[in-house]
């Protein structure tokens, strides 16, 4: 589609200067398969040379009907679907979802379970921020950062695999607890991972934070003011980089976050560099939280012992009819949740990750709606890149950490 824009030729004689020079805007599709488009998203750009005159963001390439599938699955069957929402921080999704179901059931999980959930949430947050910065830097040609951070991410992925057997498809939490306890030697391995990751973050910060190219490409690029960010519905690191201090872990506390000593990181500039800085410092805070949590973790059960909610021990299941019936009904019918509706929000890596569940008394949710932080972030993408340059889209988009699985469900 062509649009005619009036313009003047700068270097002509008087007689020709009054004639308008038609300029056509170029419409370019950026995506859905694009090396810098993480996940799949398509931005329809109208360019005037290098300037972005208009941008239209098209999503939906990864819609997998999570909400509809939840209606026909039991509460436990929905859990694997939650892994695949924000697939770089799957454990946070798991935790958020079961917290909401437990709110409807009006039960509280034992302290050990709460600590473990915080530990895995923070581990997931670190993997998410590592991936985000790694990808953003790689697209700005700092390939080394990508390799270093992916290697650091591996330290945590190995731990996650130790805990639940998978790196992405974790499905670790259960309604009323966890699928199983932490493995032996976990504390030792976690502390090593923390120490190693600290070193890597220092190294990368040294590489890139004061690097001329990186700084010039990110400072003052994609500025979003606090009012704009709030009006888009932003939460998480992007909002905090614009100066608004809101973190679900501090402001609507859950699990054992109030017991840990940590800070909410903010910046005021609201540009891509600020978002980068916030993520780096948030990782440091998460590492600090992990150290405290793994030292304070109490002994005890890792799930509630209510037979209406938790599966019985296998020794009971295989050797007694009562255990078998209990297991059978819980698996086939699902955990019966009394009718009601609840919303529970956790701090996801991208912001406030909420689950709104309507229960109807049966073992399947009537409705399960995730409030995805990425969806609000995507809202702000088009206004932010409009008026900028084509090459600015890359760092801005990278700093927003668009995760298709979460935005489109």
């Amino acid at each position: 589609m062509l649009e005619i824009v009036e313009n003047r030729r700068p270097d002509t004689s008087d007689t020709e200067a009054s004639e308008p020079l038609p300029i056509e805007l170029m419409t370019v599709q950026m995506g859905p398969a694009h090396p810098a488009m993480h996940g799949v998203v398509r931005i329809e750009l109208k360019l005037d040379g290098e300037n972005v005159v208009d941008a239209d963001v098209h999503i939906g390439y990864m819609h997998r009907a999570f909400e509809k599938m939840s209606e026909i699955s039991t509460y436990t069957q929905v859990l694997p679907y939650t892994d695949r929402l924000n697939y770089v921080s799957p454990l946070i999704n798991n935790v958020g979802y079961v917290q909401c179901v437990e709110k409807l059931l009006e039960i509280e999980v034992p302290p050990r379970c709460q600590y473990i959930r915080v530990i895995v949430s923070e581990m997931s947050r670190i993997t998410d921020h590592l991936t985000c910065i790694a990808a953003m830097s790689m697209e700005l040609a700092a390939f080394t950062v990508f390799l270093y951070f992916i290697k650091a991410r591996e330290y945590f992925y190995e731990l996650v695999e130790d805990i639940c057997g998978a790196r992405l498809t974790t499905t670790y939490t259960r309604v009323g607890g966890l699928s199983h306890d932490l493995p032996d030697g976990f504390a030792r391995k976690l502390k090593k991972a923390i120490a190693d990751t600290r070193d890597v973050i220092e190294e990368v910060e040294g590489l890139v934070a004061k690097n001329r190219i990186f700084y010039d490409r990110t400072r003052g690029v994609g500025i979003v003011s606090a009012e704009q960010a709030l009006s888009y519905g932003w939460t998480g690191p992007c909002l905090r980089a614009s100066g608004v201090s809101y973190d679900v872990r501090r402001d609507v506390p859950y699990l054992v976050y109030p017991k840990l000593d940590w800070q909410v990181i903010t910046r005021t500039e609201g540009d891509t560099y600020a978002r980068f800085e916030v993520r780096i410092d948030e990782m440091r805070q998460s590492l600090k939280m992990l150290e405290q949590a793994v030292d304070d973790i109490p002994e005890g059960p890792f799930r509630v012992s209510d037979p209406r909610i938790s599966l019985p021990d296998k020794s009971q299941v295989y050797n007694s009819i009562e255990g078998l019936m209990n297991h059978f009904k819980l698996i086939i019918e699902g955990v019966r949740v009394p009718p009601g509706e609840a919303y529970f929000a956790v701090e996801g890596a991208n912001g406030e990750l909420g689950f709104y569940i309507v229960a109807d008394g049966s073992g399947k949710p009537y409705r399960c709606r995730p409030r995805s932080p990425g969806f609000a972030l995507t809202q702000g993408l088009a206004p932010t890149i409009k008026g900028g340059m084509l090459s600015d889209i890359v760092p801005v988009f990278g700093s927003l950490n668009y995760i298709a699985g979460e935005v489109e469900r």
């Binding site: 019985p312 007694s320 078998l324 019936m325 086939i332």
Partner: protein
């Protein structure tokens, strides 16, 4: 003779109930479910399971609700700690020797033990010894298997065979710890209602051979329907998955079949998915019947009918007592409005869809057609042998040149009467049927119709009760409901019919046929209505003094169901719950 109603309190709730009723029955009628194994509303009370114990104020020990009559001013607690502990205890004892069979037991998903354990049990087993081993998967008869280990000795099956069928095949042998259900020596469980013991058994001890291991019950869709086997019109529930019927269970209708179903009706649904279902419409061209599409077959039929009408040839309609009212009524309308002067009649199948010819004084009736009354009421004809013979003579003599056959094949049903010859002499023979039969080979047009399981409709039973049935699944192959085929034909010959559903056809039928007046699908409800009494939907049938609280005949307010008429609820209920 009626004693005044009694006021009592259950769980603090004020309830008024007829005198003489038991606590359990009173609670049940007021949606308070007291768990029980041995109690059954249609079997004599024995009180041997002790699961229905409740706390009656003023009586020191817990009383069994099934056998305790209500008294004025009684205060009953069904959910206090004493009662809960008693239930747990009963469950614990019953489960001591219960085999760990859930993964292989058919009853899983609709098992009283499972359901009560999750609601009233929730304890850890304290039994650490070996369970008693008994016979498993014992054949009791042609339809029923017994697993003695799973039995909880509620004796419902024994009471059924002794009190309902009065055949007495089953009994409890031995005593105490060794007691078990068994056949009397030398007997087999072969009475014509043997399938009902599978329904009454609350656990997986008595199983249907036909249904064993076929499907898990939570995959099955439940549809309310009417058995097409005979003119009793027993209310049934069709359990299906995809386009296949897995089993048929009875539904409770106190005026028709109580809660029972004969074996002939229960086990004969194979004709729905049989290989002899007509797969595609057929039309004759150059002397041969070929598969065609519906539009081509309908156009061929409509053209021929119009040509014959112009030439003044008579076309008759021979319907069936197997067809639902909607089909029969549209057939009659077609004959009256387009085939002026054409005779109409309906045939009655000798053995019907069950292939059986037995009848008794309990449920099974000698008329093996579900809708004889309906076909007669809508004016299709008399259905008598003389009337059919009269029609055949008209065909043979040439005064009737065309015949539309619906759901009926005179060649098989009236053998040896030269129908074969008569049909072959017709100028137009259109056969509308679900399963192939000899008449199809002689036809000019064959149109495949749906069976009762694939369409909505109504049947009128021998008592004159109009009852609805719902489709369990969509038409198989290219079949269409009879009313739909006739509607399209009517449209093509210029009658302007635009009925969009069987419900609309029934609405039109109810406006035109006096005995159906004021009936709608909605007010027919789950239990149907008698002919002629269509105006007052709240009346149950006269005669029996049924207690006021009984939800018989759409008297009690129907709770709003989320799934509409076709499915009950999330809970899998036994037919009488």
């Amino acid at each position: 003779m009626a004693a005044p109603p009694v006021k009592l309190k259950i769980n603090g709730q004020e309830i008024t109930a007829p005198a003489g009723s038991s606590i359990l029955e009173t609670a049940r009628q007021n949606n308070i479910l007291v768990p029980h194994f041995c109690y059954h509303p249609h079997l004599p009370v024995v009180g041997n399971c002790r699961m229905c114990q409740v706390d009656v104020e003023g009586i020191p020990k817990l009383q069994i609700a099934c056998a305790t009559p209500i008294r004025e001013g009684m205060a009953v607690q069904t959910e206090n700690d004493r009662v809960k502990k008693a239930r747990q205890g009963v469950l614990e004892f019953l489960l001591i020797n219960h085999p760990v069979d859930c993964p292989v037991c058919d009853q899983a998903g609709e098992c009283s033990l499972q359901d009560y354990y999750m609601k009233h049990g929730l304890y850890q087993s304290r039994f650490s010894f070996r369970k008693v081993k008994r016979e498993k998967a014992q054949e009791l008869g042609p339809h029923v298997l017994l697993d003695q280990e799973r039995c909880v000795l509620c004796t419902r099956c024994v009471r059924f065979t002794s009190d309902v069928t009065k055949t007495g095949e089953l009994a409890v042998e031995q005593r105490g710890f060794h007691a078990q259900i068994t056949l009397f020596p030398g007997r087999t469980l072969d009475n014509p209602y043997s399938g009902n013991v599978v329904d009454v058994c609350p656990v997986g001890a008595l199983l249907s051979k036909d249904f064993r291991f076929q499907s898990r019950v939570w995959f099955l869709k439940e549809s309310k329907s009417i058995c097409p086997g005979c003119s009793r019109g027993c209310n049934i529930r069709v359990d299906s998955r995809g386009q296949q019927i897995y089993r048929i269970l009875p539904r409770e209708n106190l005026d028709v079949n109580k809660v029972w179903l004969c074996d002939d009706g229960r086990f004969n649904f194979a004709f729905v998915g049989a290989p002899d279902r007509i797969v595609s419409p057929q039309a004759r061209s150059e002397g041969k019947l070929t598969d065609v599409t519906w539009p081509i077959a309908m156009v061929a039929m409509a053209d021929r009918l119009r040509a014959m009408a112009e030439a003044g040839s008579t076309v008759a309609v021979l319907g069936s007592a197997q067809s639902p009212c909607e089909t029969s009524w549209l057939a009659k309308r077609l004959a009256v409005d387009f085939l002026r002067g054409g005779p109409t009649e309906f045939g009655r199948s000798l053995r019907g869809t069950t292939g059986s010819d037995r009848s008794d004084d309990f449920l099974e009736e000698p008329d093996k057609n579900p809708n004889t009354r309906g076909a007669a009421e809508v004016g299709l004809g008399q259905g008598s042998d003389e009337a059919l013979e009269g029609l055949r003579q008209k065909i043979a003599s040439g005064s009737v040149r065309g015949l539309i056959l619906i759901d009926f094949d005179p060649i098989t049903e009236l053998p040896g009467q030269a129908w074969d010859e008569a049909l072959r002499g017709l100028e137009l023979l259109a056969v509308l049927k679900s399963n192939t039969s000899p008449a199809c080979a002689a036809a000019h047009v064959v149109l495949p119709l749906t069976t009762f399981a694939e369409q909505d409709g109504t049947f009128v039973n021998s008592d004159g009760r109009v009852q609805r049935f719902a489709a369990a699944f969509g038409p198989v192959h290219t079949a269409r409901p009879g009313w739909q085929a006739l509607r399209d034909l009517g449209k093509m010959v210029g009658l302007g019919w635009s009925y969009a559903s069987a419900e609309e056809v029934f609405g039109a039928l109810a406006r035109e046929v006096a005995s159906f007046s004021a009936m709608t699908y909605k007010n027919l409800g789950d239990l149907g209505q008698p002919l002629g009494g269509g105006s007052s939907a709240s009346e149950s049938t006269g005669g029996e003094t049924v207690p006021a609280a009984a939800g018989n005949g759409a008297g009690a307010a129907e709770p709003v169901r989320a799934f509409g008429w076709r499915q009950w609820s999330w809970e899998r209920k036994r037919p009488w719950e």
